[in-house]
């Protein structure tokens, strides 16, 4: 899990162009949206692409992302349960 969490943080910083943010800046429980990392609706869509590209998980409905993308931890838990690659 710890490996997956670091992998996720690194990838999120890269694909969402979070310049000036390092993996140490992102807490496992920090909210990704709103006051936390301040991600927005386009970032959420980009995370859906990331899920499919890196882990073979297809989310058809953008609303599904709401619970999954709460924090790095919720994302990692969902991925480890549902990944196909």
């Amino acid at each position: 899990m710890e490996k997956l969490i670091i992998e996720l943080k690194t990838e999120i910083i890269k694909v969402l162009n979070l310049e000036d943010i390092t993996i140490e800046d992102i807490g496992n429980d920090d909210p990704l949206f709103g006051d936390g990392l301040g991600l927005d609706s386009i970032d959420a869509l980009e995370l859906i692409v990331l899920m499919e590209k890196d882990y073979g998980i297809k989310l058809k409905d953008a609303n599904q992302g709401r619970d999954i993308f709460k924090s790095i931890l919720t994302m990692a838990e969902y991925i480890s349960k549902n990944r196909t690659i």
């Binding site: 927005d40 609706s41 869509l45 859906i48 058809k60 409905d61 953008a62």
Partner: protein, 382 residues
């Protein structure tokens, strides 16, 4: 000065003239069809309104033997059809072409490898091909303002005519359905796999459509010079939400500002509103809030998106023409796809095509980049 619609044309799967399109819409026909994902090489199936290539080629071959991309053929044929029965001299120095499009010839885009040449995909290149086809040598203007391009182009035509430097302005709006655009909207989870349902409780996204539409605008000094039934662009506004580059404003602030501006002056008797009504959850909700805020919630309202799909750069001009013809025919057009209210501020959605004396209407569009445009059309009374 009064800016009026001198002539027009619509090319879509519903017909190659405005009359054909209007007749189809009156009878409730839609150009939207279901396509399997491999039609365009995208990952999911989709619904779209696509012009038959063979039919277009056969119509185009009647006016020219030139080999051109679909985008330019559609645009040229539309301008040609719009000028069939008019005295507008397209090659005149005081005639200007405005092309309204989001993506033009994008289907021919090549990847940027070893200096591949994409010069044919430049919008200015397409605009020149279209203007030069008609012998016009003025540098054409292209407007690429996302989904508000068409109405913005009409507003631009009005402003340019007011300078007195032009006699006629030919606004042609066009876009084609491509893998580029469909894949992009799919990545936004914005496309519906069914025919779209604007303002409905079950709406689940939009359909992309292809069309070319031409509106030729001209100016007169006094209203008396215009024949009864002529449509004028009475008032207009363009605004920005200053909020988000893709999501419509939750408060409808930008669209409200535009509506407020055009309703401030003049008499406010509005016969109907032709909304943007894309059938995405957020767009329609935003419009409902803005219309209600402007006190327009009881005005009969429709969206043409379930007939034509969202025709992107053509949408504003196509829907302006359809609204103008509705006014002229005193016909409120049913908002296809609507059954049950699906927005937080219920609107007076037109559920049945019906005759009614119509005098003026509002056309609205909103798009990526937070942009909104609003136009007030008025009919010269009998």
């Amino acid at each position: 000065m009064f800016i009026y619609l001198k002539s027009n044309n619509i090319i879509s799967p519903l017909g190659f003239s405005t009359e054909e399109n209007f007749t189809s819409v009156k009878s409730g026909k839609t150009g939207v069809k279901y396509y399997a994902s491999d039609t365009l090489g995208v990952s999911e199936n989709f619904c779209a309104s696509i012009i038959d290539n063979e039919l277009l080629d056969s119509k185009f071959s009647l006016i020219s033997e030139k080999k051109l991309p679909k985008f330019e053929k559609m645009a040229i044929l539309s301008v040609f059809n719009a000028t069939k029965n008019t005295s507008v001299k397209l090659s005149d120095k005081k005639t200007l072409f405005i092309l309204s499009t989001t993506k033009g010839n994008i289907e021919y885009l090549k990847e940027n490898k070893s200096n591949s040449d994409n010069s044919e995909v430049f919008l200015g290149y397409s605009a020149k091909i279209i203007a030069e086809f008609f012998g016009n040598t003025n540098e054409p203007l292209v407007i690429s303002n996302a989904c508000i391009s068409g109405l913005t182009a009409a507003i631009t035509a009005k402003r340019l005519l007011k300078t007195g430097n032009y006699d006629n302005i030919v606004v042609v709006g066009a876009d084609v359905v491509t893998k580029f655009v469909v894949s992009g909207f799919q990545s936004f989870k914005a496309l519906s796999e069914q025919t779209c349902k604007p303002f409905d409780a079950q709406r689940s996204g939009l359909n992309i459509g292809e069309a070319a539409a031409t509106a030729i605008f001209s100016a007169v000094k006094t209203e008396k010079e215009l024949a009864p039934g002529t449509i004028i662009l009475e008032n207009e506004a363009i605004t920005n939400d200053a909020n988000h580059i893709s999501g419509p404003s939750r408060t409808g602030a930008g669209l409200f500002l535009g509506l407020d501006k055009i309703l401030k002056n003049g008499d406010n008797e509005i016969s109907f509103i032709n909304a943007h009504g894309t059938a995405t959850p957020y767009n329609d909700e935003m419009e409902a809030i803005a219309f209600t805020g402007a006190g327009l919630e009881n005005v009969p309202t429709n969206s043409f998106k379930a007939y034509f799909g969202h025709t992107l750069g053509a949408a504003g001009i196509l829907e302006l023409i359809m609204s103008a013809v509705s006014l002229q025919n005193n016909l409120l057009i049913k908002s296809l796809g609507y059954e049950k209210n699906g927005v937080s501020k219920p609107l007076n959605i037109i559920t049945k095509t019906q005759e009614k004396t119509l005098n003026s209407c509002i056309k609205t569009v909103s798009g990526f980049g937070g942009c909104n445009a609003v136009g007030l059309l008025k009919k010269i009374p009998d």
